[in-house]
Symmetry: C2
Subunit: 189 residues, 2 copies
């Protein structure tokens, strides 16, 4: 997706060799019409598949997931972090380790919103080490739903998330794949 | 907004006298096309106003804020919780006490995304005690932006958020206003 690659190149800020900040259009500020385009592109990559639900994780995934849900005409579920006191009933839960924040959090999804009748497309803003995606895959399995695949906006290939998910045989489609960010230079695959 | 009131009445789950769960369409699962309608309605309430940016707080506010941003054709900024290690540069920050989670968290917005040239509409899913809204108002003031008002999906009037914000003279538009939830019965104002 050309416009995405250009914006990553011009607006992205590389910190160290592994952190990419795209706060100006994806993670802190968003341009809704651009997010819609991203959502349509992810939906297109999975056209022909039967998808009944989009699953993401709060917070940065929500806008993109909503755009994919709009394009597909299906509901969007976002896995929540922690365990709010308002949560009642059966839940599916999985741990996620965040390398950026250096902490483990639990995410959960109410069993009401994912069932064995669902065919689920996971959507997220980043694929780095694959921790969040692994937890979402785990939740889809717990629910007994069909896992259609994962649509990712930016994949940082050099952090190995895709390989670490190989045994789950999940189809992963990334709109932008970054091979390296050495010396602050973003190189696409 | 009739459809919203109906869904709150049929799908909302009241816990105790003050917690309302609308997980099936607003806070955990969303129906993107319905969220678009909510966004359009909030945008309509402020038609005629010059708005350059929508401001919300992660996580549940993001979907609705994106819908408002789409309707208005402006960018959306979401205040982030905590202080990620990727955050650099100047920020505006304010504390928010969550009665639901019984903890205080700091929220922050990068100074790059709110400036004195901006006219800001705050958007959030709930107005209860007004803690989150107060913090967002504080951040708009710190940025020196013009505060146009706040568009809220569900206001729980009996928790006094609107009164607690009276001195800020902010215009608040709520699509659904709940007067009482005593004995599990939702009464609209």
């Amino acid at each position: 997706m050309k416009e995405l690659l250009e914006r990553i190149q011009t607006e992205g800020v590389v910190i160290g060799d592994s952190i990419l900040k795209v706060d100006s259009f994806l993670n802190h500020q968003i341009e809704p019409s651009f997010i819609l385009k991203i959502g349509r592109e992810i939906a297109d990559r999975f056209s022909g598949e039967r998808i009944t639900k989009v699953l993401t994780i709060e917070a940065s995934g929500i806008a993109v997931a909503m755009a994919v849900g709009l394009a597909l005409g299906v509901k969007v579920v976002f896995a929540k972090k922690g365990h709010a006191s308002t949560q009642t009933g059966d839940i599916y839960t999985a741990p996620v380790y965040s390398f950026t924040r250096q902490e483990e959090v639990n995410i959960f999804v109410s069993s009401k919103f994912l069932t064995p009748h669902d065919a689920v497309l996971i959507v997220d803003d980043f694929l780095a080490h694959g921790q969040a995606l692994k937890a979402l895959v785990d939740i889809v399995r717990q629910a007994g739903s069909v896992l259609v695949g994962a649509g990712i906006v930016i994949e940082k290939q050099f952090q190995g998330g895709r390989e670490s998910l190989q045994e789950s045989r999940i189809r992963i489609e990334s709109l932008a794949t970054i091979k390296s960010m050495r010396e602050g230079k973003i190189e696409f695959a």
